[in-house]
């Protein structure tokens, strides 16, 4: 135990304290450094130092938003389930990004890659489900002459459904082409799709033959095959209205489609490439001036037309932001109330040691909150309860030591020897009892339902830090303060009498 009282340990404690205070106050440090007002919502938050973001990550029950657990059904046969799950997550991500959600969380789960959980802050359940679960139908169209069409990308032509749809596509992916410089999108067709696509490309080339790169006549509208999402026959029937055609041929806009009101027209075009040659074999490549980003976007867009599985919502939770803010306020109040009651009680009952334990408790609270930001721990209501509860339990180690300290003093020991013996003898009880709490936390964290995992994590962090704070911090404070004979009085130590040294 002498190592606990050594100079290096004290230095480490002070360093940890300073570091924690910096993290705790990171928001204010950041505001001051960037000349931002100290309170209120301002642009440029959350605070980040380099790329290091330090703020409390709030769970949905505190931030407000929607949580959905999806079950994946109808897995395509013969494909790797984990890949299918990843592709589904990518599609959901794409759709959700259109909503402009801050830090959406979309995670795979389930024992057999058959679950996906989605956490979206600030979105209602109805909005989320409409966006994610929207069945986007991908269709291929060719262009057919129609003299009445004056607007749109190909005046004099309107699209016609070809029968080739998202169901005929097995996958789409962005890759670098064989020259190693440009990004392209590869599309793989199913065997039925391959035949259809082969026929369509042959017709394309037959409509205006020639090499598209050299012959001007070869580049006619009939040589294009357009890919759309959710394009319907009704849209095509309206093609003669130039403004309608222009709106539909805008780039695909999932946000517009998700919140579509009666009468609005949303962009539905993914791409409209020209066919260079007949493509048999079921593998097509779309090239063009793609960046990695735009190639990925197009691939995801094509894939999102063919969400590889069906999504069934197992449970949906929607919490309004006001309720979340209210919950934060209430639990903060509860935490502060609890902390002050404990501090008051400790000082009244144990006098000077109690005061020192309260200081250690403040150290404890500061370090735990810093850890929450640092790790980062996503705080939920249950998680905050775990933290508040751990404040109560953090006192326990101190109580064990102080009760033992009283015994040792009564047994006739000097103050210094009593402190040492008390810490030493209380240690097995402290370790074993906290060990059993940690064990329970571990079980909760690994086996428990998802709602209680946050609780287990914060309680475990709290217990671990409280071990350090009581053994190291309280012990050191006692050793330092009790050097002065002014404090070695029975009335200040809460004991009956003190043996003269």
């Amino acid at each position: 135990m002498h190592i606990v009282l050594s100079g290096p340990i004290r230095l480490i404690v002070v360093a940890v304290l300073i570091f924690s205070l910096f993290i705790d106050g990171a928001g204010y440090v950041y505001r001051i450094a960037n000349h931002l007002p100290l309170t209120g919502d301002v642009a440029g938050l959350p605070p980040n130092f380099g790329s290091w973001q330090l703020y409390f990550h709030k769970g949905l029950d505190l931030a407000g938003g929607t949580h959905i657990d999806y079950q994946l059904t109808n897995f395509p046969a013969g494909q790797n389930r984990s890949e299918v799950q990843q592709r589904t997550i990518a599609v959901i991500n794409k759709r959700v990004n259109a909503l402009g959600v801050n830090e959406p969380e979309i995670r795979g789960a389930g024992t057999n890659y058959d679950r996906i959980t989605v956490d979206l802050a600030g979105v209602t359940a109805a909005q989320a489900q409409r966006t994610i679960g929207a069945v986007s139908k991908l269709v291929y169209t060719k262009w057919v002459p129609d003299p009445k069409v004056t607007g749109g990308p190909q005046p004099g032509y309107k699209p016609a459904l070809t029968g080739l749809t998202g169901d005929d596509i097995s996958s789409a992916s962005a890759t670098i082409d064989s020259t190693g410089v440009s990004w392209v999108v590869n599309i793989g067709f199913t065997s039925a799709g391959a035949t259809l696509f082969d026929n369509l490309t042959r017709e394309n080339v037959a409509a205006c033959p020639g090499d598209v790169n050299t012959s001007a006549t070869a580049n006619c509208p009939q040589r294009h095959l357009a890919i759309w999402l959710d394009l319907t026959q009704k849209d095509i029937d309206n093609w003669e209205d130039p403004s309608y055609a222009a709106k539909v041929t805008a780039p695909y806009d999932p946000a517009c489609l998700a919140t579509q009101a009666e009468g609005t027209v949303c962009g539905k075009l993914l791409t409209d490439p020209i066919t260079i040659q007949e493509i048999p074999g079921g593998n097509a490549t779309i090239s063009g001036s793609f960046t990695q980003q735009s190639a990925n976007d197009l691939a995801t867009g094509i894939n999102s037309g063919s969400l590889p599985v069906d999504l069934v919502a197992l449970d949906v939770t929607q919490v309004s932001a006001t309720l979340g803010a209210e919950a934060v306020k209430l639990s903060l109040a509860a935490g502060l109330l609890g902390l002050s009651i404990v501090v008051l009680f400790m000082i009244l009952y144990y006098r000077v040691p109690g005061l020192l334990a309260s200081l250690a408790l403040l150290f404890y609270a500061g370090v735990v909150l810093a850890l929450f930001k640092f790790i980062p721990v996503t705080l939920t209501l249950a998680g905050i309860t775990g933290f508040i509860l751990s404040v109560g339990m953090a006192v326990d180690a101190n109580v064990l030591i102080f009760e033992r300290f009283k015994e040792e003093v009564r047994a006739g020991r000097t103050i210094a020897a009593a402190v040492d013996a008390a810490v030493r003898r209380a240690w097995p009880a402290i370790w074993n009892s906290n060990g059993s709490t940690l064990w329970t936390c571990a079980i909760l964290g690994f086996v428990g339902p998802s709602a209680v995992k946050g609780f287990a994590l914060t309680l475990a962090i709290g217990v671990l830090v409280s071990l350090v704070s009581s053994i190291v911090v309280t012990h050191n404070l006692l050793a330092i303060v009790l050097i002065s004979s002014r404090f070695r009085r029975a009335s200040l130590l809460g004991v009956d009498r003190v043996r003269a040294v």
Binding site: A125, S320, S331, F345, T385, V391, G412, S433, W439
Partner: protein, 337 residues
């Protein structure tokens, strides 16, 4: 550990004096005053304390067997809307509106003047319909929370919770047996320590679940609902109960090692007396913190705080009055040396 036993060996005579007046758990201004608390014979009256526990546990078990629990939405499955109406309709008005939907909804009034409306599982379209229906009948409303829990998730939550309790209890039995195998008597004695602690733990779980069954089903109180928070509470109580018991057992182990003069019963009684002050003070501070949550924590946390409070009080009671006496009884039935 070796360091620890050194200290004990050289300083023991001052420490353990069965009837000496040198150490009182209570703060006494005069050391000469007769130490009342020390004379408490808990082990001798163990049957009284066992009976007291049974008085609470037996009705709880009967209630669980006959009435079961009042299930919260996470376990029952269904759709729950938490809403506030701008026009503040009365409970009968809201009930009438919900009944007329014939969607099988039921209404609970919350403390904040809002309402919780529960339906059997609805799909997204039905949820929207129900909301617009309520608005047309009762005026503008704010939806604070929508919960939809399907049967699959509800079933899984129950399974996971039971699994977690079972694993935690088994694991603690093993852990404690390992920690305490170094008492005189070896592994068998260690198992007795572990077994007694786990029995006290089960006592606390039954007290807590029994009382909640009575609160929820027999008295029909909303606070007695069983949900994921309640599972959290039960598992925390599992940890806390053992936490308390271990402190007592640890003292028994220490006293067994250093005082050969006392009988096992005397050692246990002495150890309980030495640790009682700490157990009560710690529980008291935890209860204070929980009281703060109960008062200031808002409706969703109140059930959790109440459950934890019952569990903590029961955990402290069982560590003092059940776990150690049980150990004595077990030792009598199966002497280890």
């Amino acid at each position: 550990m070796s360091e620890l036993s050194d200290v004990k060996a050289e300083e023991q005579s001052a420490d353990i004096v069965p009837d000496g007046a040198t150490k009182e758990p209570e703060k006494e201004p005069e050391p000469a005053k007769p130490p009342k608390v020390r004379r408490l014979n808990i082990i001798g009256r163990r049957n009284v304390f066992f009976a007291l526990s049974l008085i609470i546990i037996v009705p709880g078990i009967i209630s669980m067997a006959t009435h079961g629990f009042r299930l919260g939405i996470d376990f029952a499955g269904g759709t729950e809307l938490t809403v506030n109406f701008a026009n503040h309709p009365t409970l009968p008005q809201v009930e009438a509106a919900v009944d007329s939907e014939s969607a099988g909804g039921s209404v609970i009034q919350t403390t904040g003047g809002g309402y919780i409306i529960r339906y059997p599982p609805l799909n997204a379209g039905q949820v929207t319909n129900v909301q617009s229906d309520l608005q047309s009948k009762l005026g503008p409303m704010t939806v604070n929370q929508i919960l939809e829990v399907g049967g699959t998730i509800a079933g899984e939550t129950i399974q996971l919770s039971l699994l977690a309790v079972a694993i935690a209890a088994t694991g603690l039995l093993i852990l404690l047996s390992i920690w305490f195998h170094n008492v005189p008597g070896g592994w068998r004695a260690g198992f007795q320590f572990g077994g007694s602690a786990v029995a006290a733990l089960l006592h606390d779980v039954f007290v807590l679940t029994g009382i909640f069954s009575i609160l929820g089903r027999v008295l029909n109180l909303r606070i007695g609902e069983i949900d994921a928070f309640f599972v959290t509470a039960v598992l925390t109580v599992v940890g806390f109960s053992v936490h308390d018991t271990v402190v007592v057992f640890d003292r028994i182990r220490e006293n067994l090692r250093v005082s050969q003069r006392l009988s096992f019963e005397q050692v246990v009684n002495l150890s309980i007396m030495q640790t009682a002050a700490r157990s009560i003070i710690t529980s008291f501070t935890v209860v204070l913190v929980l009281a703060a949550i109960l008062i200031a924590g808002g409706p969703s946390l109140q059930g959790l705080a109440l459950a934890l409070m019952i569990g903590v009080v029961s955990g402290t009671y069982s560590s003092i009055f059940n776990a150690a006496p049980l150990l004595v009884v077990w030792r009598k039935l199966q002497p280890v040396r």
